[in-house]
């Protein structure tokens, strides 16, 4: 018997409230579970690393902010032919070539050690590279990646002059800060303040320290190809006579575990000592060296938690 439950105005209100609640509850239950799940996620709590600013550890001749990652070794074959304007007799430079072979290994995700040997001046080089800052998005967003780079190069040429080429006199050092930002998935730009210190220079007038400001970047053409450019502007103070700013243009082609980089540049060497403080070619006069880098990645130590 429901006659005692005679709706009074306040009862009506209560029932309406109940009905309203019941309605919202059923509406909720029928609501898409996925939207509920997504509304559950507190969005900006995670900081995400921006990865793959460049395809390779090299932009063209110089380094990028990229490091191979822990346990990965990169085998790098770099090649520069002779100048294009050397004429048909030299097959437009293809008769002549300089080579650098290099290995770099990711000790951690941020720290890399590398060694190399260039045929130019029979130079051995070794370097350390450390990712000091990594570009991130999300809660604690970091606008740029900064990688610190230090290398030394040893000229091992036999000498015939009377001057004694002791070990310290054969050494040159490079210090670089690589500052890059990936603006979009296609465009990344990099700034490279550089110092090259040579223990020995040709004349008393020349400076041991050469300062340069490098600019570079890549623009992706497709998912696996990109257009790269690199320019090192030598600061007037300490600029060696007859040395030009290095300019290079190139294309990156990526396949599974390889990156092929093809380029033209006015510098013959492939380490900082040569291309920052020793570029003599005039880009617009046709003193162009055609060259390539081949990068091959090997995983020496797989990440933890994976078999084999």
């Amino acid at each position: 018997m429901l006659h005692f439950y005679k709706p009074t105005p306040s009862r009506w209100g209560f029932m309406l409230l109940l009905a309203g609640l019941a309605w919202t509850r059923t509406a909720c239950a029928q609501d898409d579970l996925l939207t509920q799940l997504e509304s559950q996620e507190t969005k900006p709590t995670k900081t995400e690393l921006v990865d793959a600013t460049f395809k390779s550890t090299r932009l063209i001749s110089g380094h990028t902010v990229q490091t191979p990652g822990q346990g990965t070794m990169v085998f790098l074959i770099s090649h520069r032919f002779g100048t294009l304007n050397s004429g048909a007799y030299n097959f437009f430079g293809l008769d002549q070539a300089t080579l650098r072979l290099g290995f770099e290994y990711g000790l951690t995700d941020r720290l890399t050690a590398g060694v190399g040997r260039s045929s130019l001046e029979k130079t051995f080089d070794g370097f350390l590279k450390y990712k000091a800052l990594r570009q991130t998005t999300g809660l604690h967003a970091m606008p740029v990646s900064v990688t610190l780079f230090a290398s030394s190069a040893l000229n091992s040429l036999k000498y015939s002059d009377t001057y004694e080429h002791t070990l310290p006199r054969r050494l040159a050092y490079t210090y670089q800060a690589l500052i890059a930002r990936k603006f979009s998935s296609d465009l990344s730009l990099q700034l490279m303040p550089t110092l090259v210190h040579s223990n020995l220079v040709a004349t008393a007038q020349e400076h041991n320290d050469v300062y340069a400001l490098g600019f570079g970047g890549r623009q992706k053409l497709t998912k696996r190809t990109s257009l790269n450019a690199e320019y090192y502007y030598l600061l007037p103070a300490g600029k060696p006579t007859g040395v030009r700013n290095a300019l290079a243009l190139g294309v990156d082609l990526e396949t599974g575990g390889h990156v092929f980089q093809l380029h033209v540049t006015n510098s013959q060497g492939m380490i900082e000592k040569f291309f920052v403080s020793g570029t003599r070619g005039n880009f617009f006069n046709g003193d162009l060296y055609f060259g390539f880098n081949v990068n091959r990645n090997f995983t020496i130590r797989p990440k933890q938690g994976f078999r084999k």
Binding site: T8, S10, R11, G13, F14, L17, R25, C28, A29, Q30, D32, L33, L34, Q36, L37, E38, Q40, E41, E48, D51, A52, P68, G69, Q70, G71, T72, G106, D109, S185, K223, R224, E254, T255, G256, G257, N297, T299, P302, K303, G305, F306, K308
Partner: protein, 191 residues
């Protein structure tokens, strides 16, 4: 009845109902692994950041996976996965939303694992497909265990694999899902 009397009732009602209907289960650290086996190379990746919601009242299931959270054995594989294949900048998440078709609540509450079929929409790389996948449910110590193993074909989701590496990546990729969801009160969800 004066409104003042309604409130205790209302509060009582609000407290009781969610308890009786604590049939929603949530996790934020579910595990998804996937495998691609080919003659040349085995590829395996894993994430422990899957968010999932299971409603045993309405038999609904939903989960989302942040693509960038997948960890690979090789750094370069992970980079290629995000950059070239999944384009995780553009499509940061994969999701599933569907229904359990043949849930037997009584059997589930008795214990033991129960095989079910789940039907719904799976979204990968921005492409949504309607799929039916087998799975297993189990109630254990109050939490709901969800297991599923199914496969997807990258080609179905516009994931383009270049000719050069076509031999390295399987046509069919196996996906394993393991979730341990905790019960939640409905109110805390809609709050």
């Amino acid at each position: 009845m004066k409104p003042i009397y309604c409130w205790p009732l209302l509060v009582l009602w609000l407290l009781c109902v969610p308890k009786a209907h604590a049939q929603k289960y949530l996790t934020r650290d579910g595990v998804v692994t996937f495998f691609s086996t080919s003659i040349l190379e085995d590829i395996e990746a894993r994430t422990e950041q899957v968010a999932a919601l299971v409603d045993l009242n309405s038999n609904q299931v939903a989960f989302t996976i942040p693509i960038k959270s997948f960890q690979f054995k090789r750094t370069l594989m992970q980079e290629h996965f995000n950059e070239n294949y999944m384009e995780s900048g553009r499509f940061p998440k994969s999701s599933f939303s569907g229904r359990i078709l043949d849930l037997n609540m009584e059997a589930l509450q008795k214990g033991g694992s129960q095989r079910v079929t789940v039907e719904g929409d799976i979204t990968i790389h921005g492409v949504t497909k309607h799929v039916q996948v087998p799975g297993a449910l189990e109630l254990q110590k109050g939490s709901l265990l969800v297991h599923a193993y199914f496969s997807v074909a990258p080609a179905d989701y516009n994931i383009e694999i270049p000719l050069l590496v076509r031999e390295n990546i399987a046509k069919i990729v196996g996906i394993r899902l393991a979730l341990s969801c905790e019960p939640i009160a409905q109110l805390s969800l809609t709050k």
